[in-house]
Symmetry: C2
Subunit: 124 residues, 2 copies
DNA sequence: CCTTCATGCAACCTTATGGATGCGCTTTTA
DNA sequence: TAAAAGCGCATCCATAAGGTTGCATGAAGG
């Protein structure tokens, strides 16, 4: 059974708040620098800002802003250790994004299935 | 076996072009209006611009722009029928986005697994 | 044919976004 | 303790993004 997935096909759509949350998450992923940072953090090891900056051709401040965006979306978590701020990947929000795409795909496939059965065995 | 996933942990990173493509895809998903459009199209039925505009409180032009962004990312496909332009969902790019998130998650879990085995059975 | 529907194109506006600099504060470390 | 490493904050800049309005154009219908 495909996941519910807020039904936006009707005229009234009160379930838009969830949609905004998911959109914000995708927006956070929608930048090559940020996506690169995530990939680098995907080995589970926390890294400092300076460390993450080394891998780019940007300023530390630019990277800091990107990390702030990721943190705002909950995709990354910061912790202070001494004079440095360590960032590590937070898997839950990524899983949520994945499941959202899964839901859309499931909806699509379910629709295909209904179309197929309709063609093979039309009503009336 | 976790998917390769461009290794950005080294200093030199020539595999960034792929990253840009994925980032562009996520960026296209990173807007509530566009995400809403996708959900509405996820039942497989093509819809006209006017039809999709009805579900929003925006102008037709605004919706047209959003559809252009989605089309640019390949997430949606347009076709002309008479005087109206029909848009329908394209599942392949969405699947690619899903798989990218899967790859990151797999990387993460593999790292956790290595950490676990290290703790349970430390070398030396 | 004349009107209406569904779009496309272009100009314009406002705000968000990505990035850089300069400066000051705290923690290490030589 | 003085220098260096790592950051945070504030400011400033240029461009992209989201939206609107106005006008022109092709297709449908009566």
């Amino acid at each position: 059974m495909p996941k519910p997935l807020p039904d936006l096909r009707g005229p009234a759509d009160p379930s838009t708040p969830q949609l905004a949350i998911h959109a914000a998450r995708f927006a956070a992923l929608g930048d090559p620098t940020r996506l690169g940072i995530l990939v680098r953090l995907s080995d589970g090891a926390p890294r400092s800002i300076a460390r993450l900056t080394e891998a780019t051709d940007l300023t530390r401040q630019a990277v800091t802003k990107h990390l702030a965006v990721l943190a705002e979306a909950g995709i990354v978590r910061a912790s202070r250790r001494g004079r440095e701020t360590l960032f590590e990947l937070e898997p839950a929000p990524l899983a949520a994004a994945r499941q959202y795409l899964d839901a859309i795909a499931a909806q699509w496939e379910a629709a295909l299935g209904r179309l197929k059965s309709f063609i093979e065995d039309p009503p009336h």
